[in-house]
């Protein structure tokens, strides 16, 4: 018999509290995997929206066919003289067809449709006065509407980063709830073994020796339960439909690259939480009991 297994045997098997610890760690980690996936996906989304849409705007010109060309030129002229605009460019019919293809198919007779002309605007770092530009446009090209994205981009990017925050907050809460449950379970095990602890103290066991028997047990139980939860959660995430080209939010909920390893850090974390919680509980109980 090794010294270590002998040391663990001085405390009888912990039964229900130990089982509760494994189960709690497993269930909590399962949830944490999804919270982690959510946080990472929201983070990616927030970044993409913030950076890709940053500094771009669109001007849409809807006008009778014979006026489109004229108004387009007028708008481009205005843009060329507006401070804070880096560049602007009218989209070619080809580009417009590409834009619409996912919705209407490749054989769209573009010329037969009363489509608005789109102009891409790229803003300089210092930015432009969007109200002033809108006024000039309505005066000189009545069919032009400035869509500066920020109207919908900002709340979306904000929502995404808020979602990321919520994801991380969930992981924290899950960790705290797990710590509380394991503390409770450890306290139950310690109280159930009050007699054992008393005998151990009487024969000269140090607190750290007695605590170690409990801490080791609960740490291992939590880490093992958590490993099962992490595996199950990761499989769950992997079974979600693959991320499509459009990068829609729900389909983008997987992990990417090395991110797939992150869920497997959770058992280490759970073990650490269990270690700290049980140790704290053990030393408190030992001082109370003997």
């Amino acid at each position: 018999m090794t010294a270590r297994s002998q040391n663990d045997r001085v405390v009888p098997p912990s039964g229900a509290p130990a089982t509760l610890t494994s189960f709690t760690a497993g269930a909590m980690t399962f949830l944490a995997v999804f919270a982690l996936a959510l946080a990472l996906a929201s983070g990616r989304l927030a970044e993409r929206w913030a950076s890709a849409l940053d500094r771009t705007a669109t001007i849409r010109i809807s006008a009778p066919d014979d006026q489109i060309a004229m108004q387009t030129k007028a708008v481009l002229d205005i843009l060329a003289t507006t401070p804070g605009i880096e560049s602007s460019r009218a989209q070619t019919p080809d580009e417009q067809r590409k834009l619409l293809e996912p919705w209407f198919g490749p054989d769209l007779p573009l010329t037969d449709l009363p489509l608005p002309q789109l102009i891409e605007v790229i803003e300089a770092t210092e930015g432009y006065d969007s109200e002033g530009l809108k006024q000039r446009l309505s005066a000189e090209a009545p069919g032009a509407v400035l869509d500066d994205h920020t109207r919908w981009r900002k709340p979306m990017a904000e929502a995404a980063s808020r979602l990321r925050l919520l994801g991380y907050l969930s992981i924290l809460l899950i960790g705290a709830a797990m710590a509380a449950m394991i503390t409770l379970a450890a306290n139950a095990a310690l109280s159930a073994n009050a007699q054992v602890i008393k005998v151990l103290r009487l024969v000269g066991a140090k607190d750290s020796y007695i605590a170690r028997a409990f801490v080791r047990r609960f740490t291992l139980r939590a880490a093992a339960g958590s490993a099962v939860g992490a595996l199950a959660g990761t499989i769950g995430v992997a079974l979600l439909p693959a991320q499509d080209a459009a990068g829609g939010f729900l389909t983008g909920l997987g992990f990417t690259g090395a991110g797939w390893l992150l869920p497997f850090l959770l058992p280490l974390l759970a073990g650490g939480v269990a270690f700290a919680a049980t140790r704290q509980a053990a030393f408190t109980t030992l001082r109370r009991l003997t």
Binding site: L202, G204, S208, R287
Partner: protein, 236 residues
Amino acid sequence: MLPQIRATGVAFTVISFENAAYSYGGGELLSDISLRLAPGSFHFLTGPSGSGKSTFLKLCYAELAPTAGSLTLFDRDVRSLSRDDVALTRRRIGVVHQDCQFLDHLPLAANVALPLTVAGRTSAPSDLSDLLGWVGLGQLAEAKPPSLSGGERQRAALARAIIMGPDVILADEPTGNLDWEMSLRLLTLLVELNRMGKTILVATHDLNLIRQAKPQLAARVLRISKRRIQLAGADL
């Protein structure tokens, strides 16, 4: 030969009470105790049931602390001992408790070896079985404590108390559940241990045992009466 430092040096005491008292919610149980147990001494402690014999022993192994006065164990004030110090002190004091508690989930042999286990030491299996054989429990090494008789538990407790080779042995009614023959055997062991230099304190109300011991060694008899501990006369 190496010089006997302790014999020639400053007076060394194992257990020393000075004007110590112990009281609890119900009042003062032990008052004004001044007592020194010198290394190698042998004491009996007698007194009526409920007079505080077990309480006195608990003070001696730092389970309780005096509520007044001072108590030093191995020349250290018990109040200055940390929890770890208490644990280390108990490794030098073998105790046979009156209620003989064991770890019920471990076999007898593991229970007897427990002081070694918690101290991070291992026992030679032959030493352990010799010891169990000596207290007459060789056949019961694998038995679980709840299945043992009262006398078997007391013998096991004695084996556990001496396995560490402690400097001091405190025994609380160690013959309470033993027949006369086994009591004598236990007394012989205690006498032997005392000859090896161990300090021994036995709480007992078995006056026959004390009489039996007297011719074998220079034992002193302490008696608790009216909350005080006095040296008993030769009237036993």
